[in-house]
Amino acid sequence: MASDLIQTYTDENFDGNVLKSATPVLVDFWAEWCAPCRALAPAIDALAQDYQGKVAVGKLNVDDNPNTTVRFMVRGIPAVLLFKGGQMVDQIVGLVDKGTLKRMVDKHL
């Protein structure tokens, strides 16, 4: 398990830890009650491992962090948003495989 590599993002730390991050950041918007989110979790864990040191990978719980969820207009989960230099540069909504996530990340490295 790579779960210790997974950051926890919140409304409070989002600006500091995501928008001001020196490396690109992949944020998985999720919730406890979302079955496809649970199915996506292993792919997110694998990505955190594969991109260690190059891309920060973390999760944001949409139940607990409504401000960030609304700010990026997330209205469907799982939603994986990629941030680079303080901007959202790409996103994928819905359950996808690891390869699809990797292709999105690689486009922006």
Binding site: W33, A35, A39, V62, M73, R75, G76, V93, V96
Partner: protein
């Protein structure tokens, strides 16, 4: 190692096939797929699966089926199949982890939600357009939304969404619903649900803003067009079978469903199909499970006839 049976898919059909094949000592390998558990993973209470008099949550039912199949020796892998080669024996089933050889294959890949096909629908997917009420209903607390469709899943979604939404408008292209009587009664009795009959969605706004602000609809009988102000659109207009892997290798009908004969047999000996991938008529958890049982028994008899 050549496997006796590889099962592709893990909804009620795939897991029942796995249970029966495992109990027949065939040591089945199940590729569960990314969307393991199938469509029931996206539902709430299932009230028509026999044996559960108080209903059971879809994900709980699938978790129980999975445990039961594993208990008898089925091997399950949560991975998508990327390619199948049915033109050689043993058959080949490929995933990103490599190839598996199989003497028999049970196809239980199910069906996925159909979309309207509007460009704005693509752009706004996840930003107000959804095919999963249980996943995304939460985002529409205190907001008006629309559900497109007139079958059981449309009315189930509409009823579920009234927990969050101020109002749910069901947009249906005909003047009568396909849904079962009990679902219709529930929806008609719900004060938060209203209907737009004989109506189709022609556009979803506003892609430029990146969120849904309204749907543009047209009455197919009167030709009258109008905008309905909604924050969300849930599309429940039916399903399309997951048969892309088998194009050109197995017989399908015009809708892309696998065609079966004499139980679960496809046109290729040793390849069996069960569940929604071959059924656009009943599409129930219990019929899928029943056909999964048939496929496992058919596979077992086939292997026996081949001397395995």
């Amino acid at each position: 190692m050549t496997r006796n049976v590889v099962i592709i898919g893990s909804g009620p059909a795939g897991l029942t096939a796995a249970l029966y094949a495992a109990r027949a000592n065939l040591k089945p390998l199940v590729f569960e797929g990314l969307e393991a558990g199938g469509q029931l993973m996206l539902t709430t209470a299932v009230e028509n699966y026999p044996g559960f008099q108080d209903g059971i949550m879809g994900p709980d039912l699938m978790a129980a089926m999975r445990v039961q199949a594993e208990k008898f020796g089925a091997e399950l892998q949560r991975i998508d199949v990327t390619r199948v080669d049915l033109g050689r024996r043993p058959f080949v089933v490929a995933t990103e982890n490599g190839d598996e050889e199989a003497r028999a294959i049970v196809i239980a890949t199910g069906a996925s939600a159909k979309l309207l096909g509007l460009p704005s629908e693509r752009t706004l997917m996840g930003h107000g357009v959804s095919t999963c009420a249980t996943c995304d209903g939460f985002f529409f607390r205190g907001k008006p939304i629309a559900v497109v469709g007139g079958g059981d899943s449309a009315l189930e979604e509409a009823t579920f969404l009234t927990r969050f939404a101020t109002h749910v408008t069901v947009i249906h292209r005909r003047d009568a619903l396909r849904a079962s009587k009990i679902m219709q009664d529930k929806a008609f009795a719900n004060p938060k649900i209203s209907f737009e009959w004989d109506t189709v969605v022609t556009d979803i706004k506003d892609p430029a803003q990146g969120v849904v602000s309204s749907v543009h609809v047209r009455n197919v009988k009167t030709g009258v067009e109008k905008d309905l102000a909604v924050d969300g659109v849930f599309v429940a207009i039916g399903h399309t079978p997951n048969t892309a892997l088998f194009k050109g290798q197995l017989d399908m009908d015009a809708g892309g469903y696998l065609t079966t004969h004499d139980g679960s047999k496809t046109n290729l000996p040793g390849v069996f199909a069960c569940g929604d991938v071959q059924d656009h008529v009943y599409r129930q958890a219990v019929t899928a499970a029943g056909s999964g049982c048939m496929a496992a028994i058919d596979a077992e008899r086939y292997l026996e006839s081949q001397g395995h």
